[in-house]
Amino acid sequence: MFRLEKRPQPSRVFAYLTPVLAVIATMFAGGLLFAALGKNPVEAIRTIFWDPLFGEFAFYYRPQLLVKGGPLILIAIGLSLGFRAGIWNIGAEGQYIVGAICGAAVALAFYPLDAWYIFPLMILAGALGGMLWAMIPALLKVKFGTNEILVSLMLVYVAENLLASMALGLLKNPEGHGFPGSRNLKEYPSAYNEPILVLDRIPEPDTCSGISGLFECARSGSYNVVADFSSGMHWGVLTAFIAVIFAYVLLNRHMLGFSIRLTGEAPRAARFSGVSPTRIILFCLGISGMMAGLAGMFEVSGPSGQVSIDFNVGYGFTAIIVAFLGRLHPIGILLAGLLMALTYIGGEIAQGNLGLPSAAIQLFQGMLLFFLLAVDMLTNYRIRLVKREAA
């Protein structure tokens, strides 16, 4: 018989080991799942985890890792600050949308003016938009004691409708032949969140004939060929890295970060210590909204390019998984964001090459969080084998 025993202190070894264990367990259970679907489990796992990094077309996928990982990391960093304090912003998806709308609106308001200050203004607008959207649950919580989980989540659906209305109305491209969606910001240099650190410039599709099928695929999507051959680095990814450093310094070296952690660990002790709960709620929701808004703005002005009805693809929700997978630790989140991006990209390849249903891939990603939560217990408990006693 097994028995769980509480450890006198959390195990440091297991705090680092559990994410790795969770990934291994997910691979195993995912393999079983894929086998049950009649696919070769080893091949499926290899396609998801190996091919994007080291496979034949890795040069195409590796930059995607940053493009997809950037917003996840940026949003998750913001969320993790609140989660550390026990403030549950579940509505990052909505703040992401509003940040994108605000950023794009600034750009479109200046169109077609060519000026250096447009992009910085867009950054500011995106940050403010996301922050203000998050301030709604924050102020309601502070003033009326509402539950920020419910309010922030419901505001996601409000934001989605706002997005649809913008794509069909105010921000619709006047030269778009009546199609929904705004102008493409990639074609407006002053507003374009262009790739930085371009590694390799525009190989013509026909010069790499062996993989032309892939390019057909890439071009039929909304991908920009120039960006695909860059490192994948854009201003949003850079901002995400800065956010990682900022969060690390804040949490480990600054009184405010200490107050945030204290509020999460022991709210009464925080109050006794002199931390104002109101200030922490406003700060945490504000900054997580701001980071989600920034992520949205960088996405709309870069990889996505336009405000469209289906602009948001769930980064704001996935970032919750990323934050927990990364143990709410900035460096952990950096790694978790890249890992999650990997399963996204690998999952897409597996869908295309092996014909795995997309639901199976989502299930696979969900398993990761479940396994993490399950093995997390080992940080605080140890398993002991005890002899069965006669009752």
């Binding site: 009184m255 200490f258 009464r268």
Partner: protein, 508 residues
């Protein structure tokens, strides 16, 4: 006293790293009140849990009236006639008395019948209790009655009581003792756990003393002095804290007309509290738990803001200031609840040193933390107050209650407070740690700090305090000189018999 009810032979229980009970043997006679005495961590709880079927012994055996007794779970122990009143009540505030009692029964009768039985039993044993009252509105003493009656309804042969008087006024203690004596006369055995020696001497027939998991002796408490028993408990001679006997100086803290609404539904409102605290003075505030102690501490520490002029520190209005600003001005506090209030359980001692020390110890520059300095401060506390821990990187929750309490009190004392407010400074702390903490408070007062000690332990207050006042339902009595007080007067003050004083304040 005829024959043995429960015979305990060689009970041993080891946990990782500690032997909680090491071959403990003793007998509880039928119809006797048997005291189980020992410091915190001596193994009293483990022993009682084994009798009650919550913990299985590693070796050893028990016999109930000659038959083997090894309850695998509390239900079996209850079936064998063992009942227990825990120190911490397991009652639901929102339910009424009879509902609470029904919840704990295997097979509850209809509520109406149960209420009638509760009435009968409560009258029979002199424990008045209305079965239809909501538990949230009951005092701690009344809550305990609910627990006792819950046990009595099972018609127990052995009643275990874990520190029952810690929440009672002297008068309530008197009522409880009458009930217990009546039970004994009817043939019920009582295992009475306590560390209050005088109580044991008045109530109990036999006392078994545990130290570090071992039975170090059985004695007749009526024949043994409290000091002898205490020394058996501790295993060494006791040091009685000595005050420096300084003369009180200027008024440091002046609380006048402090009224605050109850912070939570089951909290206590503070009503027109007046007190004056002088430099070098120790003011003790007594009272039964739940009469506004937590609220008074929160109002003084700044966790709850009051009106601007309700609290004055050295003549300055500070009622509207938060904890950090008050600390800056020299008013420090240590709340009762160690884990979760005075300290963050999962944070290291270094981080916990930062929790209140940031301002006065200069542990930050421009908001950035100086970990090295915080660690030094934690180490100083550990060294000065003899906190037993491998080092400042250990989590607060890994410390024993007494050690963490030394850390918490030491953290405030070392910040050279001008006014220090502590709530239950030695609650759940073993005798030697308690003596060290009291000595530290007295030394602080000797050096001119004004010290306010809120405590439910009257012996402690009599030992350290120059002046005494009592809290009752959020009202504070007049302050009296400790030396002039009799235990009866204190009981009356705690019970709220200070109406004359209220009128005086209204007139003032």
């Amino acid at each position: 006293m005829t024959g043995t009810l429960l015979s305990i032979r060689g009970l041993t229980k080891a946990y990782p790293g500690v032997v909680a009970n090491d071959s403990v043997s003793f007998d509880i006679g039928a119809g006797e009140i048997h005291a189980l005495l020992g410091e915190n961590g001596a193994g009293k709880s483990t022993l009682v849990k084994m009798i009650y079927g919550l913990v299985k012994p590693d070796s050893g055996a028990m016999q109930m009236r000659g038959a083997a007794f090894a309850p695998p779970e509390p239900r079996a122990a209850r079936a064998a006639g063992v009942a227990m009143v825990f120190q911490h009540f397991s009652l639901f505030d929102a339910l009424d008395v009879s509902e609470n009692i029904a919840l704990g029964m295997e097979d509850p009768p209809p509520l109406r019948d149960l209420a009638a039985r509760i009435r009968t039993v409560s009258e029979e044993y002199g424990l008045p209790l209305d079965p239809y009252r909501t538990v949230g509105g009951l005092s701690a003493g009344e809550r305990q009655r609910v627990e006792i009656i819950r046990c009595l309804l099972q018609d127990p042969k052995l009643l275990i009581m874990d520190e029952p008087t810690s929440v009672l006024t002297p008068q309530e203690v008197g009522i409880l003792f009458e009930t217990l004596n009546k039970l004994r006369d009817e043939g019920t055995s009582i295992l009475y756990i306590s560390h209050k020696l005088e109580e044991i001497r008045t109530l109990c027939d036999t006392a078994t003393i545990l130290r570090l998991g071992k039975n170090v002796g059985t004695c007749d408490p009526r024949e043994t002095t409290a000091r002898q028993m205490a020394e058996m408990m501790v295993g060494s001679e006791l040091q009685t804290p000595k005050g420096a006997g300084g003369t009180p100086g200027a008024v440091m803290l002046d609380v006048s007309g402090l009224s605050l609404p109850a912070p939570t539904k089951f909290g206590t409102a503070l009503k027109n509290v007046h007190l004056r605290l002088h430099a070098g003075e120790v003011l003790g505030i007594g009272g039964v738990a739940g009469n506004g102690q937590d609220e008074l501490l929160a109002a003084l520490s700044g966790e709850i803001r009051a009106s601007r002029d309700a609290i004055r520190l050295k003549g300055q209005d500070i009622g509207h200031l938060g904890p950090t600003a008050r600390r800056q001005r020299g008013l420090l506090a240590a709340p009762e609840e160690r884990l979760g209030h005075a300290a963050a359980p999962d944070m290291s001692l270094t981080e916990n040193a930062l929790l209140t020390g940031a301002v006065r110890e200069g542990l930050t520059t421009n908001g950035f933390l100086r970990w090295g300095k915080a660690r030094d401060f934690a180490e100083t506390i550990i060294k000065t107050f003899d906190v037993r821990t491998p080092g400042p990187d250990n989590a607060a929750r890994s410390l024993s209650g007494g050690n963490l309490q030394k850390f918490v009190i030491g953290r405030e004392v070392l910040q050279r407070p001008e006014v220090l407010v502590v709530n239950q400074p030695t609650w759940g702390v073993d005798a030697s740690a308690a003596a060290a903490i009291r000595q530290a408070l007295l030394d602080l007062a000797g050096n001119g700090t004004a010290v306010l000690v809120i405590s439910q332990d009257l012996d402690e207050l009599m030992e350290v305090a120059d002046h005494f006042a009592a809290l009752n339902e959020g009202r504070l009595s007049d302050t009296r000189h400790t030396g002039d007080l009799t235990i009866e007067e204190i009981g009356l003050m705690m019970g709220g018999a200070h109406d004359g004083m209220e009128v005086a304040h209204v007139q003032a």
